[in-house]
């Protein structure tokens, strides 16, 4: 079960994983629309927005997938020329599923309300501690989902490219950070 959740790529062929991952795109976009979330970065999910539409969430999702796929495929191909694009694409699509689930933290707009009230004034946090406590608990529950997201990304790339050495692992982390930095420049294009 642990292997199925964290590394389905070792056992299952890329095609069924790709199919499930493709189904996840509209599903994840719908969740973002329903719970006021944004996928405004290659690795990001932010709650607390009232202007999210299904089309916007879908576009953000596609941009994030394209960036992750491009970056991780370039990296994987550089360490193993036998890497197949379909394996990297299915990795990215499956890894995003936990990210879609994190949007559930926006149920009832609770987090958005707290964010709006607290704003940039840290003094408000102390006064509103009883209200903020559930938000902190929700945030703690989100941590395993974020870990799951990164574990799937790593295990998928590891299986697709046979990465092994410490140097390759460090380069994988650097690639992920580079993809995130590039997304800071690419994503504003969506909102123009």
């Amino acid at each position: 079960m642990k292997k199925l959740l964290f590394n389905p790529f070792e056992k299952y062929d890329a095609r069924p994983l790709l199919f499930i991952g493709l189904l996840g795109i509209p599903f994840g976009s719908l969740l973002a629309y329903l719970f006021g979330a944004h996928y405004n970065g290659a690795l990001d999910m932010h709650i607390g927005s009232e202007d999210t539409t299904f089309v916007l969430a879908f576009t953000e999702n596609i941009f994030a997938i394209a960036l992750l796929f491009a970056g991780l495929f370039i990296y994987s191909y550089s360490i193993n020329k036998k890497t197949r694009p379909i394996d990297i694409l299915s990795t990215v699509l499956i890894a995003r599923i936990p990210l879609y689930i994190t949007t559930l933290a926006g149920v009832g707009g609770y987090m958005a309300k707290i964010d709006a009230v607290v704003g940039d004034d840290p003094g408000t946090i102390e006064k509103m501690l009883p209200e903020i406590l559930p938000v902190l608990l929700i945030s703690l529950l989100l941590i395993p989902l974020v870990i799951w997201f990164f574990a799937l990304l790593y295990n998928g790339v590891k299986t697709a490219s046979n990465l092994k050495t410490t140097k390759q692992i460090v380069m994988f982390i650097v690639t992920i950070l580079l993809i995130e930095i590039v997304s800071f420049f690419i994503f504003p294009l969506i909102y123009q």
Partner: protein, 93 residues
């Protein structure tokens, strides 16, 4: 009775074993000497079975993946690792 497994490493110091005596089961002729094991025989039984399966599927990794119930890249990675291992075991000419 189970077929005894060919030991490939010394149980005492783990170094590679060599063949020092061969015998004919029909006429009991014995040959002694110092014969190194060929690279493929120096692999563990599961890796030898993997290579045999690769041969029997005419080198189709897709077919092997289906037979073994694992994904294509997992089979390819095992094969790549095995190629590296056999290369190290094969003396350069």
């Amino acid at each position: 009775m189970q077929t005894p497994k060919l030991p490939i490493a010394c149980p005492s110091c783990s170094a590679s074993l060599q063949v020092s005596r061969l015998s004919c089961p029909s006429c009991n002729t014995e040959v002694t000497g110092n014969f190194p094991l060929p690279p493929l025989l120096r692999l563990p039984a599961d890796e030898q079975a993997f290579i045999l399966q690769f041969f029997l599927t005419s080198g189709s990794l897709k077919e092997m993946a289906a037979q073994m119930g694992i994904s294509y890249p997992t089979v390819r990675n095992r094969l790549d690792d095995l190629i590296e291992k056999v290369k190290k075991l094969t003396p350069e000419e």
